[in-house]
C-alpha cells in the first residue's frame, strides 16, 4: 500500500479521488482522501460511524450538492473526467453513478413505474416496447423478476424489505449506470434478504463498478475484492480484502476490524 492510501492493483481505475477535503460548514468531514476505485471490482468502505464513508460516496455522484453547507475540495474523476467540472450535469452524472440507500426507498408508484421512471426521464426508450424490455431486464438482473412479473402494477411499497431493496437496485440498473454506490444496502434486511443482495452484488460486479459502505465486517469480507478503512475522515488503509482481513498493515485497521477500538 502506498502511504497516501491510494493502493495499487492490476485492474484499471474507474474512479480516482485525489486530495479530497469535504466540509459541512466549518466542520471538516474528509481530510486529504486519496483513493482509487477499480473497474468491475467491489470496493467496501468500512469504518466507525461518522468516519466519512458515506460522505465520500456521496461526493462521487455529487449527492452532496444538495446539502447547502457542503463544500468539496480536491479532485474526483470518473474515467479520468473531473466530476466537479462546471459542464458536468449532476443529473446525467447520477445516471452514470447510481445509488442504493440504507433503507429501501421505492417511489410511491407501481413496481413497473419505479423501474421505468429513470429510463423515461433520461429518454432511454423510444417506445413502450423498449421501455417494457428495459423494465423486464432490469428486474431480471436485480433477481426480482420471477417474484413480481405477474404483479408489475402493484405498488413498489407492497413488496417485502428485501424485495424493495432489489427493486431499488433494478431502478438504479435501469438507466445503465457504470458505477453503483451502495450505502449500507442490507442494514434493514434479514439474513435471507441480505444473502440475496450479496449474491446479486457478486453477479453485478462483472458489469458494474460497485462501492459498498457497510458496517458488517463479514459482509465486506464476503462481497468485496478491495477494502478501504476510513477513520476520522481519513483513509487509513486500502488493500485487497483478503489482506485487510487476515493481515491488516495498520494497527488502527486491526483494532477496528477485531473490535478492539476505543
Amino acid at each position: 500500500m502506498s502511504p497516501s492510501g491510494i493502493g495499487s492493483a492490476p485492474f484499471s481505475t474507474k474512479i480516482t479521488a485525489r486530495d479530497v477535503n469535504v466540509f459541512y460548514g466549518a466542520k471538516q468531514a474528509l481530510f486529504d482522501v486519496n483513493l482509487d476505485i477499480l473497474k468491475q471490482q467491489v470496493t467496501a468502505l468500512i469504518g466507525p460511524s461518522g468516519c466519512g464513508k458515506s460522505t465520500f460516496i456521496r461526493c462521487v455522484n455529487r449527492m452532496n450538492d444538495v446539502v447547502p453547507s457542503c463544500r468539496v475540495e480536491g479532485k474526483i474523476t470518473l474515467d479520468g473526467e473531473d466530476v466537479y467540472r462546471e459542464e458536468i450535469d449532476p443529473v446525467q452524472l447520477r445516471a452514470r453513478v447510481g445509488m442504493v440507500f440504507q433503507k429501501p426507498n421505492p417511489f410511491p408508484k407501481s413496481i413497473y413505474e419505479n423501474v421505468a421512471y429513470g429510463p423515461r426521464i433520461h429518454g432511454l426508450a423510444d417506445s413502450r416496447g423498449e421501455l417494457d424490455e428495459i423494465v423486464t431486464s432490469s428486474l431480471s438482473r436485480a433477481g426480482l423478476l420471477a417474484e413480481v412479473k405477474d404483479r408489475l402494477g402493484d405498488a413498489g411499497t407492497s413488496l417485502s424489505g428485501g424485495q424493495q431493496q432489489r427493486l431499488c437496485i433494478a431502478r438504479a440498473i435501469a438507466v445503465s449506470p457504470e458505477v453503483i454506490l451502495m450505502d449500507e444496502p442490507c442494514s434493514a434486511l434479514d439474513p435471507i434478504a441480505t444473502a440475496r443482495i450479496e449474491a446479486l452484488i457478486g453477479e453485478l460486479r462483472s458489469s458494474y463498478t460497485i462501492v459498498i459502505v457497510t458496517h458488517s465486517m463479514q459482509q465486506a469480507a464476503r462481497v468485496s475484492q478491495r477494502t478501504a478503512f476510513f477513520h476520522l475522515g481519513r483513509v487509513v488503509e486500502v488493500g485487497e480484502t483478503a489482506q485487510i482481513f487476515t493481515d491488516p498493515h495498520e494497527p488502527r485497521t486491526r483494532d477496528y476490524i477485531t473490535g478492539r477500538f476505543g
Binding site: 465486517m217 482481513f245 493481515d247 477485531t258
Partner: protein, 220 residues
Amino acid sequence: MRVVDPALLELRKQLLRMGSLAEAILEKALTAVWKHDRAAAREVQTDDLEIDRLDVAIDEAVLRVLATQAPVADDLRGVIAAKMIATDLERVGDLARNIAKGALRLAEHPEVAIPARLRTLADEVQRVLHRALDSFADGDAERAAEVLEEDDQVDADQDVVIRAAIQEIMSHPELTSQGVDFILIAKNLERVADHATNVAEDVILATQARNVKHAAKLRE
C-alpha cells in the same frame, strides 16, 4: 474485554496445558529408555490420553470460535495457529508413546549402554520443543525463528546416531534388536523436532502474518 476474548484465552490456556503435557510425556518416555523403567513407559500410554482429550477439546473450541465469533486479522491467525499447534502437540504425544514402546522392548533384553549421541540428540530435541513452546507462550516470533534454525542440527545428530547404531549392529549382531530400537528412538525424536518446528512456524504466522512453511523448498 471483547466478546471473543474469553474464547481466545481459553484456547490459549488449553494449548499451554497441552504443551506442558507434551514436554512431560516426552521426558517420561526418555526416562523410561535411559533407566529401563517399564512402569514409566506404561504410564506414557495413559498420559497420552490426556493430550488426545485436549486435542479434541481444542478442535471443538476452534470450530465454536470460528462459527460464533468470525475472528479476523491477528485473532483469526491465532485461532488457525492454535488448531495447527494442537495437531502438532498431539503428534508429539504419539511419538513419545512410540519411544516408550521402544523402552519396553529394550527392557526385555540385557541392558546395553545408551549411545551418548542418542542422549545428546534427546537433549537437543527437548530443548527445541521447549523453545518452540516458549515462543508460543510469549508470542515471540524472533525466538520462533531461532527454533527453525536448529532443525538442521537435529537432523544431523539423528544421522550420526543412526550410522553409529548400524555400525554397532554390524559388529555385534547379537545386539541387533537394541540397535534397531535406538534407531527408531532417534527417528521419533527427530520427528518431535519437526513438530516443534511446525509450532514455531505457526507462532510466526500468528504473530507476524508470515507463512514460512517450506520456505527453503519453495524458494528453489
